[in-house]
């Protein structure tokens, strides 16, 4: 099977869906010129023309609100809101409006939009902030965070065909650094389905984005010490695959949740609450959250490295609950 980068996999999803449906358009900044986020859309302007690859000025409210209007009027817009931080400028468009279009019109009108946004750090990048927590308290919005080339292609294709608004958060370290096998034939991955990236019996680690790789690396180290960790890549934050989480934690009795965003009010809190509420799960230890420190992410490399969670903090968390 061939290997693609995360960015190439996204590019394939975009091309396939644009060929499949002439109503699919891309709207955002620097898409035609630069290929947009991750360079995934390189070459698409030449292929599909400027009526379908729509470069905009620096106008995030227009990009997001415009995508909604275009969606109501029959297009399927994939808009790009460059960086996670910029998403905060479009909370009104997405949370107050896109999330509600179908609901308030009894399904007669829809906002079938996809919002792609890049976030996350490898310590050597700007715009590292995670922002998923802004959108998890907004019923009607779907939020996905695929972490492999295989997952991102399949989930993005599903997102584009979904009539709900879907925010696809792409950890930018993965664009060129993450390679994986992607089948030649067409496939879809349903939104709302988690993926167990590694099976294990001793502790469940629920992770998202680049933390999936940190968790896998931690699991490798722990295995040497005889502790087998099960790594659950959520893939989808809203809707969330509760069943997979519950099944895994029922089996292991121990839960670590890992995300890059700062801890308080972060996504990990929701997973904690869900597991705590669930009857029939017997925990052998308290739930542990591995997350960013509660500060705005510093720019300086050594400071950023201390604030951000990683393989080591996951190992410490696992050890902490293995008694």
């Amino acid at each position: 099977m061939r290997t693609l980068t995360f960015s190439q996999a996204i590019g394939e999803a975009l091309i396939e869906e644009m060929h499949h449906d002439s109503n699919v358009v891309l709207i955002g900044e620097d898409i035609g010129g630069w290929g947009g986020l991750g360079g995934a859309a390189k070459g698409l302007l030449e292929k599909f023309g400027s009526d379908r690859i729509i470069d905009t000025p620096i106008s995030e409210s227009l990009i997001a609100g415009g995508a909604i209007g275009a969606g109501i009027a029959g297009l399927r817009a994939i808009c790009e809101i460059g960086r996670g931080e910029f998403l905060a400028s479009v909370v009104d468009a997405l949370v107050n409006n896109a999330a509600r279009v179908s609901y308030v019109t009894s399904g007669k009108m829809r906002a079938p939009i996809v919002v792609r946004s890049a976030f996350g750090t490898n310590g050597d990048r700007l715009h590292p902030h995670s922002c998923e927590a802004l959108f998890l308290n907004s019923p009607g919005l779907k939020v996905i965070m695929p972490s492999t080339p295989y997952d991102v292609k399949g989930m993005l294709k599903s997102a584009i065909r979904d009539d709900s608004p879907v925010i696809c958060l792409e950890h930018q370290y993965l664009y060129d650094n993450c390679k994986g096998e992607v089948p030649e034939n067409e496939y879809f991955i349903p939104i709302g389905s988690a993926d167990i990236k590694r099976h294990g019996r001793d502790v469940t680690v629920v992770a998202i984005g680049n933390m999936v790789y940190q968790a896998l690396a931690a699991a490798g180290d722990m295995s040497v010490e005889g502790i087998e960790a099960e790594i659950v890549d959520l893939c989808s934050l809203a809707p969330l695959d509760k069943e997979t989480i519950f099944t895994s934690v029922s089996k292991t009795g121990r839960l670590v949740i890992a995300h890059e965003a700062s801890k308080t009010g972060g996504f990990g809190a929701e997973v904690c609450a869900l597991v705590s509420e669930q009857r029939g799960i017997v925990l052998k230890a308290p739930i542990s959250r591995v997350a960013g420190m509660d500060v705005p992410l510093p720019l300086s490399y050594p400071l950023q490295m201390m604030v951000l969670p990683g393989k080591q903090s996951i190992i410490e968390a696992i050890k902490g609950i293995m008694n």
Partner: protein, 321 residues
């Protein structure tokens, strides 16, 4: 414009006034459009069914009616009844797919501009010659989305007309205290589009200006802005304690009542005798009352979990094709 058209316009304005009076009497939260009927009716009269509109919240339902929706269906929406689009959910105005009226899912103003511009973009991409008319107040033109939308619509020469219903007040704030230029229309030049000022209390002047702008947009001439100078007779909402303007100011504008002015005009044209006027007033009031009665008699939605959760994530057939 035929004589029939002129009388249709008069009927729409009468209905608008009776509808507004009825609603003002029903709830202290009502945002009255009293005195702004010419601006609203003139803007939406005689658009194509396929043209899209986003009405200003003040007078929105009048816009819905002029676009094609019956007052019965308007009341069905207001009462959240089962046969409507909204069915009791969401913030007030659910729009209408049948009549190409955009929804207003949330109360922060601004989304109207960007959403409408997105519709215009879709019309362009799909090769349609339909047009979008977005209508808004003076205060709303201060939102960032106004500027982002005019700029983008102008760049791409999108088929959209921006109609400002300048009633001079945004809640308690007079335009002179919120807009840095003498007129809202001045802002159009900043984006390279025409900005026209009209007497917002003269329904024919409004109508002609909007129709010209719509025609221009329809034939690839790009967007423009029409500013209708009018006045808000009532408070921002019914229970508004006011105190920020004088009774003299309000009285001076009552004398420029758009319905009285149009009635005068029709009279001068020999189209409106006293008997016909009385009859038309009666018919308009009946239309409102019958609409309300029918809506109130129509089936209610079921107050169940199933109804409450319906269409949160849409599936199956739906949306615009």
């Amino acid at each position: 414009m035929t004589n029939e058209d002129l009388l249709r316009i008069y009927r729409y304005m009468l209905c608008a006034r009776f509808f507004d009076e009825k609603m003002s009497g029903q709830t202290s939260g009502w945002h009255s459009s009293l005195g702004e009927e010419a601006s609203i009716v003139g803007t939406f009269f005689d658009l194509r069914r396929e043209d899209w509109i986003y009405p200003h919240f003040r007078g929105a339902w009048i816009g819905y009616n002029v676009k094609g929706m019956s007052y019965k269906d308007v009341f069905v929406e207001l009462y959240g009844r089962a046969s409507g689009t909204g069915q009791g959910k969401g913030f007030s105005m659910p729009g209408s797919l049948d009549w190409h009226i955009l929804p207003m899912p949330a109360s922060a103003l601004g989304i109207g501009f960007t959403m409408s511009t997105g519709v215009a973009l879709a019309l362009r991409v799909r090769g349609s010659d339909d047009v979008v008319v977005v209508n808004f107040g003076d205060g709303t033109s201060n939102r960032g989305e106004f500027h982002e939308s005019l700029n983008f619509a102008s760049l791409r020469k999108l088929p959209i007309v921006f109609v400002c219903q300048n009633n001079q007040y945004a809640v308690s704030t007079h335009v002179s205290k919120s807009i840095a230029t003498p007129d809202v229309a001045d802002r159009a030049a900043a984006y390279g589009i025409p900005g026209l000022i009209v007497d917002g209390n003269d329904v024919l002047e409004v109508h002609e200006a909007v129709q010209n702008a719509v025609s221009e947009a329809r034939h690839g001439g790009g967007p423009s802005l029409v500013e209708c100078k009018t006045y808000r007779i009532q408070g921002h909402f019914e229970a508004d304690p006011e105190g920020y303007r004088t009774k003299e100011e309000i009285m001076s504008w009552r004398e420029k009542d758009p319905i009285l002015r149009f009635k005068s005009y029709l009279n001068e044209c020999g189209l409106l005798s006293a008997e016909l006027d009385k009859e038309m007033n009666g018919d308009a009031l009946l239309e409102i009352n019958e609409g309300l009665g029918s809506a109130k008699a129509s089936p209610r939605v079921s107050v169940t979990r199933e109804h409450i959760e319906a269409n949160l994530y849409p599936s199956g057939a739906g949306g615009y094709r």
